[in-house]
Amino acid sequence: MIAKAVKATVAVMIGGVLLNAGSFDVQAEKDRQALVKYFMKKFSDPVKNRGQFFPYATEEDMKNIMPVKKVEDFRLGSYAFSKVGRSQYEEINEMPPYEDDIDAGEELYNGTKGIKECFPDPAIAGEYPKFDEKQGKVVTLSVAINDCLKAHGQKPWKLTKGKIADLEAFFAAKSKEAGKKVHITIPSKAAAEAYERGKKAYYAQRGYLKLSCANCHVQGSGNRVRREYLSPLLGATTHFPVYRLKWQGLGTLERRIKGCEKNQGENPHKPGSQWVSEILYFMAYMSNGLPVDGPDIRK
């Protein structure tokens, strides 16, 4: 009886896959689910999991690391689990330093030629990066904004900070207000290939330190580099643009990733390049289903 029910379920599941013929996200979805499982297990009970997941943690670190109970909490980066980090974060967020930027972004939205036509619904922060079938490539939100400006005869903006970050802050705030979730799609074989390249770039060790992003943000997440706790890959893109105290201003994902590449001892790839857009595509897919939570603050 049970066997029969199982068989029926399996048949329905397989049917589902077939119906979805052209489900190019099968592998990505597998990757995402495994990553969620990994982080939920790692942070479910840090004290119990210390030997397996936090081998370098000191007693003091262990006192600082809180369990993470809800997957949504990973949108907070290292503040999902760092007690000290979280309390400083909450304190700063009482008077968010990015509110003027959201206003500036709204003015740019209303006052910049073409922008409203390209983005009639501003609550789209969770939809990017996107695979653009016509161009056959991944476009990040920053790149899409610049493509729009160029299509309307305007000069493109800097991809890392300034106007682009302000406009993205407005998009993110609108998306958050509307309760949007990260929703990255893989609509074709070419898109799946771009995703795979992004994934490989994320996990490949590089630079004179021979580190991969994953060394720090998957296996290393929850451990400490100097005084900073390393944030998880899960949730890494949900809250951009970010106001960093170190920058004393807002920056896009393109800006953030550049700094991390430098830390690896590599000459950073250009913002807007295929490499950067594809690695961000992979990273954003990993956060599918998490709430859009930008703009936000980070140290």
């Binding site: 990994y38 297990k41 790692k42 997941f53 996990y203 490949a204 060790q205």
Partner: protein, 148 residues
């Protein structure tokens, strides 16, 4: 005579640096880098300064093409190499490099032998790592090679 040779080498290096590589050529350079023992090939005492700088200049363009060029202290490896080539020309014992940190102009001076060894290792290792990563990257992917 020796001096002329230096200039010739420097010129040749300058030319080879300015040629940009196709992706296929860059992959061939990865194959070639795999045959290099960096500890031996980048040792200035046993090979001489020119040869070590030449090795750096031979491999680094492929690292640039593949997007894996090393950067240390805010200085790209190609900038170390350019500085070294100038030092060869002027027979200087030191290399002075200019770079920007947080928008400010800075300079740093290194002994040539040290800088040459570095530049050579950086150029070759960047390419070797490309091949090594082919084998190792999946080992870090949860649900794939990484078990937990």
């Amino acid at each position: 005579m020796k001096r002329n040779l230096n200039i010739a080498t420097a010129l040749a290096l300058g030319v080879s640096l300015s040629i940009s590589l196709s992706a296929g050529d860059a992959q061939k350079m990865v194959d070639e880098a795999m045959k290099v023992d960096v500890a031996k090939a980048c040792d200035v005492k046993s090979n001489g300064l020119e040869t070590v700088v030449a090795t750096a200049a031979k491999f680094n363009p492929a690292a640039i093409e593949l997007g894996v060029e090393f950067k240390r202290l805010g200085i790209r490896n190609k900038e170390y190499i350019r500085g070294l080539q100038e030092a060869l020309k002027s027979k200087s014992k030191t290399v002075t490099l200019h770079y920007k940190k947080k928008g400010k102009e800075k300079t740093k001076t290194f002994p040539v032998d040290y800088a040459a060894e570095r530049a050579c290792k950086f150029a070759v290792r960047a390419l070797q790592q490309v091949r090594e990563a082919e084998k190792t990257w999946r080992l870090a992917v949860p649900g794939d090679g990484y078990k937990f």
